[in-house]
Symmetry: D3
Subunit: 68 residues, 6 copies
C-alpha cells in the first residue's frame, strides 16, 4: 500500500503503552523519539511492540512550523 | 511559549512554496525532509524562508504507525 | 505497508482536481463519494486519476459522530 | 446545523465503548464499519448507543488516499 | 444535526477568501478572530459570506494547550 | 516560540481531567469553555492545573464552519 501522506519517518518502536481505549506508541526516528496516540486495537492488529521496525506517518496538513 | 504537542522536531527549512492560500514548507530534520501544509499567512507572519532554523510540530493524535 | 488508521474505505477515484498546492480527490466508496484534500505532490507521486481503484484512509481520532 | 465538513456518511451505530476519557464508536455505513474516537462526554451528550441512526463526519483535510 | 465535536464557537463571519481549491474563512467569536481553512465547495454550499452568523467547530483532539 | 497555527486563544484553565493515557483540559477563553484532548504527559510536562493562564491552540485546517 502506498499512501498520500507526505511524511513517513522510518524508525524503531521504543515503547507501547496501552490505556483504556487509547495507546501511546513511541518510535525512535533517527535519534528523535516521536509519540503517536492511536487506538489499542491498532496496537493489537499490527502487533506493535518495542524493538519492531515501524514508521511514523503524518499527513502534511497536520504539521505545523515553529520558530524561536 | 511551551506547547502540549508531543512532537517538536528541530531542523532547517529547505523549501517554501506558496499557493493561492496554502503553502508547503519543507524542513530537513536530521536528514529526513518533513512537509508541512500551512497557510500563506503563517509563512508571512513567521517570515519563513529556506535556510532558517525551525521545528516541525505535530500533535501525538495526528501520528499514525505503519509497519511493513 | 499496514497502517494503524482504523478506517480504510475501498473504492474508485471519480475526480481529481489540482489547485495551486492542494488537490481534491473524490473517491466513490460503495455509492458514497468521499472527498480528500491532499497535496498536489501526492497526486503526482501516486499517479491518481479517475477510474483508479484506491482507498480513503481516515484515522479514528479524525472521525466525528453526528445525530439528527 | 449544516457543517463545512465534506464527508457525512449516514449509518447505524453498532458499538459504543467508553474508556477513561476517550470512547470508540463504531458505525456501519453501507456495510463498512467506521471507527470514531471521541470524548466520553460527547457519547453522553448525544446519548449514543448501538442501533441508533447516526453519521460519521470527516473533514476533507483529514482524508488520505492509498493505492495498492 | 448535533455533532460530537466539543467546541462550537458562535460568531460572525468577517472574511471569506477563496483560493484555487482551499478557502480561508475568518469568524469573529466574541472579539477573537478564528481562521478556518476549508474547501471552496463548502464555502459555496453553505453560501458563506461576511456578516453571516456562523460557528467555528473544532474537535477536542485537535486542540492543543500552550503556556508562556 | 512562535507557531504557524493561526488560532491561539488566550484564557484560563478551568478543569484538568486525566484518563489512562488521554487527558481533557478545559480552558475558558473569553467566557466560552474550550475542551482539549491531549496526552497525560503534556499535562504533567506543562504542569497544567485549574487557574493557570494558558492558550488553546488550533491549526486553521482543523477548524470547520457551521451555519444554522
Amino acid at each position: 500500500m502506498k499512501i498520500s501522506a507526505r511524511n513517513v519517518l522510518k524508525g524503531k518502536i521504543v515503547e507501547v503503552k496501552k490505556g483504556a481505549t487509547t495507546a501511546h506508541v513511541r518510535i525512535d526516528v533517527g535519534g528523535t523519539v516521536v509519540t503517536a496516540s492511536i487506538t489499542n486495537e491498532a496496537v493489537d492488529e499490527l502487533k506493535l511492540a518495542p524493538g519492531m521496525s515501524a514508521s511514523a506517518v503524518v499527513k502534511a496538513s497536520d504539521v505545523m512550523i515553529a520558530v524561536e
